[in-house]
Subunit: 477 residues, 2 copies
C-alpha cells in the first residue's frame, strides 16, 4: 500500500469518525432536551418534596419522621417500577432535643434579654436549672488556646467568628467557620470551660439559631460541656453587651439527650443495566435531616432529585447500560452511618462501583458539578460542556463530591465521584434552621437540578467505558 | 534594516505587548476583586432597597409613592458625593386601580366561586354594578380571530395560554405569552367582546393575579373593554368550569381609571470623566413599579444596583475616564416616557453616549449580560470571560438590553447596550404581583448583581476606546 492510499484511507476513517462523533453529539443533545422537558413539564420531584416536607416533616436519625420517610420513599420508588427496591439496615445514633431551649444575656442589676439559641446536635444537656456564667468571646479555636486555661476555666466560651462575606462560593465560607461549631466544645472543655455558645453559621443577620453536628472527640464524660448555637442577631447583641460590660453573664437551659443507637435504613432502588449489570452507578441524597425545619433543602431536595433521576430515565424510555441505583442515605447529619454502611455492604457483595453522584447542596438553580476524579475523566466531563450550555450549566470543577458517597472511594479504585453544585447564595440562610422549609424551594430550580443530574448520569452511562475508568476501576482488596 | 533585525524588533514589541496585556489583566483582576469585596462586605444596595421597598413601597407612575421615591433617591445620590445630581422632568400617564376588584365564576343555579383578579394597567373600568357574561376560552389572539365576530360578540374572552415550562430562559416563555395581556383586549374589542380575562403570566400555580401593561391601540373609546388578569389557579378553575358547563358565566367589577398625564421625573446622577468628560455611559433601572407589591425585584433591585455602581466606584477610589451617569427612569411599566425623554434630551444637548447598561430582570444571582452591539464589541466583551469566571458570571449573549435604554440606540450610532441577566427561574413568580416584595430579595444575590454591573462598567470604561466604537460612535443627525 503506498502512502497516498494510506492517507486516503486514514482520511476516510477520520471523516467517518468525526461524522459519528457529530451524530452522537446530536443524539446526546436530543436526549438532554428530552430529559429537561420531562423534568420541567411533567416532573415529580416537587410533588414528592411537598409530601416529604409537609406531610412527613423533619427526619432526624432515630426519629419517628425518619422512619416514616424510610417507608414512604420505599413505597414511592416501588411505584416508579424499578427492577428492585429494598431497605438496608443501619444502626444510627439517636439524639433528642427535648424541651425548647431558653437563653438570656444578663447585665448588671440582673437585667436580662432573651436570645434565640438551639442545642448543637450531640450536645449534652445543662442542669435542669440551667447554666449561668461569665462569657469569654473568641474568634476561633486558636484564640481560645492562646487565652489558655486560666482565662477559660469556669466560663462560657462564645465563638463569634462570622462567615466571610466576600467569598463567592458560600461553602468555602462555611468551611472557614464550621470548626467552631464542630470542635469548639471539645477544645473549650479541655481548658475547663463550663459551656459553649457558637454564632450560627449563616450569612443572614436574623433571629434563627442554626444547629449542626458537634463532637467531644474522646473527651471523658466529665469534661463534656453543653454546646448551643445562637442566632446571628443574638451573637451581635452578646458581643456588644460584652464590650459594654465585660462582666455580662449568659444563661441557657437545654434538655437534649443522647439515647444510644437504634436501627434505621438506607432506602435503595435499582434499574439493572442492559450491558454491564454488574457495574454500578449510585445517585443519592440523604434522607435524614435536622429537627428544626422540615429539611426541604437539606436534603429533601437531594432525595427527591435522586429519585427523579431514575423516574426520568423510565419516563423517556432510556434503558441504562450500567446498573443505576438511587440510594437515600440515613444519618448524614450526625454520623454518616448510612454512607459507611452502603460502602461496606457494596464491598462485601463485591459490587464494582464506577460512578457516584450526590445532591446535598440545596434545591437551588443548578450551576454545575464538582468532581473527585482523575484528570482523564475530568477532561471527558469538560468535553460535555457544550451539551450543558443550553441549560446554563457551566461550573465544572475538581474538588469534593458528597459526604455519603465519599466512603465508596475507599473501596473502589478509580471510581468517579461527583456532587451537584447549585447556586449557593441562599443555602446558608436556611441551613439547619427552622426556615429550611418547603416554601423556600422553587419548583423550577428543583426540577432543573433533577434534569441536570439525570443528564450527567446519562452521559456517564454512555461514555464512562470509553475513558480510562473501565480498566482502572475495580474493587480494592 | 535586514529581515532578521526586523523580526527581532517585531518580537520585542510582541513580547512587550503580551507582557503589558498580562499585567493589565492582572490589574483588572485585582480591581474586580475589590469591587466584589466592597459590594459583599460593605455594600449599600440592600439597605437602599429596604428603604425603597418598606418605607416607600409601590411606585406606579403618577402616584404619591413614585414622587416620594424621586425625592428620596435624589437625596441618597447627593449623599454619595457625585459631581452632579438632578431631576429631569417628564410627563407620565396616571392610571389608578381604585377599589379592590371582585370577580366570580357563576355556574348553573347561580352558584358562585370567587376568584382573584386584578385590572391590567391602563384598562377602563366596568360599570359600577360590574360586568357579567358568558365566556369564550381561547389560547391566543390567532384562535380569537379564527372564531370570529359571531362567536365573540357579547362575550368575555378568556385568554388562557400558559407560559411554556420547558424553556430554560423564562423571559422567552414570557415573550411567548405576553401578547395576550398586551393586545388581547384590543383584538377582542374589535370583534365585539364585552370584556377580557387573561391568565396571569407566571409559571407559578397560585392565587396571585399578575398585572401589567395593555393597550387599546387606536380603538375608539366605545370599543375599549375592561381587561383583567386572573390568578393561575383561578384560570384553571374557570377553564375546568367551562369544560363541565359551557354556559358558565363570569362576573367582575373594577373601578380603575385613566387620569390623564402628570409631571414626574427621571433621577440622574453623574461622575464626570477624567479623560473623556463628553462621552457618556449610562447605568440605570426604572424607579416606577406596579402598584400591587412594593416593586422590590421590578425594578427596585435595578434602581439600587445602578446607584451602587457609582457608589462602589467612589468606594474603591476609581475615577472613571468617561462620564458615568446613573439614570433612574420613570414610567417604564406603562409608557416608557422616562426612557424616551432621557434619549431626546441627550440628543438635544448633543451628548455622545457610547454605552448603556440596564438592570431590569430582578435582583437574583447574576449570570451574565446580554448585549445589543456590533460583533467587534461583543468579541471584546467575550475576551473578559476569564475575568468574570471567579464570580461565576458566564452567560454573555447577543440580544436585548433594557427597555429604558433602548431609545438611546436611535440617537447614538454604534452605542453598546447591555442588560444584566440574573438567574430567571423565580422572576415571574413575583413579577407584577403582590408578592414582589423585599423579603423575596436575597442580600448577597442583589450585591453580586451590583458588583457584576460595576465590573462591566469598569472594563467598558477602560477598553471601549480600543475597539471600533470610538470611531463609530457619534450622535445621529
Amino acid at each position: 500500500m503506498n502512502k497516498s492510499i494510506l492517507r486516503a484511507i486514514t482520511l476516510v476513517f477520520l471523516v467517518a469518525n468525526l461524522a459519528f462523533a457529530k451524530a452522537q453529539t446530536q443524539s446526546d443533545s436530543i436526549t438532554l432536551r428530552k430529559i429537561y422537558t420531562a423534568s420541567l413539564s411533567d416532573g415529580n420531584s416537587y410533588q414528592w418534596l411537598d409530601h416529604l416536607s409537609n406531610q412527613i416533616g423533619s427526619r432526624l436519625s432515630g426519629s419517628h419522621g425518619a422512619e416514616v420517610a424510610v417507608r414512604w420513599t420505599k413505597e414511592e420508588l416501588e411505584k416508579v417500577g424499578l427492577d428492585n427496591v429494598w431497605l438496608q439496615p443501619v444502626m444510627v445514633p439517636k439524639w433528642v432535643r427535648g424541651a425548647p431551649e431558653r437563653a438570656y444575656i444578663e447585665g448588671d442589676n440582673a437585667q436580662i434579654t432573651e436570645v434565640p439559641i438551639c442545642a448543637l446536635g450531640g450536645s449534652v444537656r445543662t442542669k435542669t436549672t440551667g447554666l449561668k456564667a461569665n462569657v469569654v468571646e473568641v474568634q476561633g479555636i486558636e484564640e481560645l488556646k492562646d487565652l489558655g486555661r486560666e482565662a477559660i476555666k469556669g466560663k462560657i466560651v462564645f465563638f463569634n467568628r462570622p462567615m466571610a462575606e466576600e467569598l463567592i462560593r458560600t461553602f468555602q465560607a462555611y468551611g472557614g467557620c464550621v470548626d467552631q461549631r464542630y470542635a469548639g466544645a471539645m477544645e473549650a472543655g479541655k481548658l475547663g470551660a463550663v459551656g459553649v455558645i457558637v454564632r450560627s453559621v449563616t450569612h443572614s443577620l436574623d433571629d434563627l439559631p442554626h444547629t449542626g453536628s458537634m463532637s467531644y472527640g474522646d473527651l471523658p464524660v466529665s469534661k463534656r460541656i453543653p454546646a448551643a448555637a445562637i442566632s446571628t442577631k443574638g451573637a451581635e447583641l452578646l458581643s456588644t453587651s460584652l464590650k459594654l460590660n465585660p462582666n455580662t453573664r449568659f444563661f441557657y437551659k437545654m434538655s437534649c439527650e443522647n439515647k444510644g443507637e437504634v436501627e434505621s435504613h438506607n432506602v435503595i432502588g435499582e434499574i439493572t443495566g442492559t450491558t454491564f449489570p454488574n457495574e454500578y452507578m449510585v445517585i443519592g441524597g440523604h434522607l435524614d435531616s435536622w429537627d428544626l425545619g422540615d429539611g426541604s433543602h437539606d436534603d429533601g431536595a437531594g432525595v427527591v432529585q435522586s429519585m427523579e433521576v431514575l423516574r426520568l430515565m423510565k419516563a423517556i424510555d432510556y434503558r441504562p447500560k450500567h446498573s443505576i441505583r438511587v440510594v437515600l442515605f440515613m444519618n448524614e447529619e450526625n454520623g454518616l452511618r448510612g454512607g459507611r454502611k452502603y460502602a461496606a455492604e457494596a464491598k462485601r457483595n463485591k459490587e464494582n462501583h464506577i460512578f457516584a453522584l450526590e445532591s446535598d447542596s440545596g434545591g437551588f438553580t443548578p450551576r454545575g458539578f464538582s468532581f473527585d476524579s482523575d484528570e482523564a475523566n475530568f477532561k471527558q466531563v469538560e468535553s460535555w460542556k457544550s451539551l450543558f450550555e443550553p441549560y446554563l450549566i457551566h461550573d465544572f470543577t475538581q474538588g469534593g463530591s458528597g459526604a455519603d458517597i465519599g466512603p465508596l472511594k475507599d473501596t473502589n479504585d478509580g471510581i468517579v465521584l461527583a456532587g451537584l453544585r447549585p447556586d449557593s447564595q441562599r443555602y446558608f440562610d436556611h441551613h439547619h434552621a427552622a426556615n429550611d422549609t418547603f416554601d423556600a424551594v422553587n419548583k423550577r430550580e428543583l426540577e432543573l437540578g433533577a434534569a441536570t443530574m439525570t443528564s450527567l448520569v446519562y452521559l456517564m452511562d454512555n461514555y464512562i467505558e470509553k475513558t480510562v475508568i473501565s480498566s482502572n476501576t475495580k474493587l480494592k482488596d
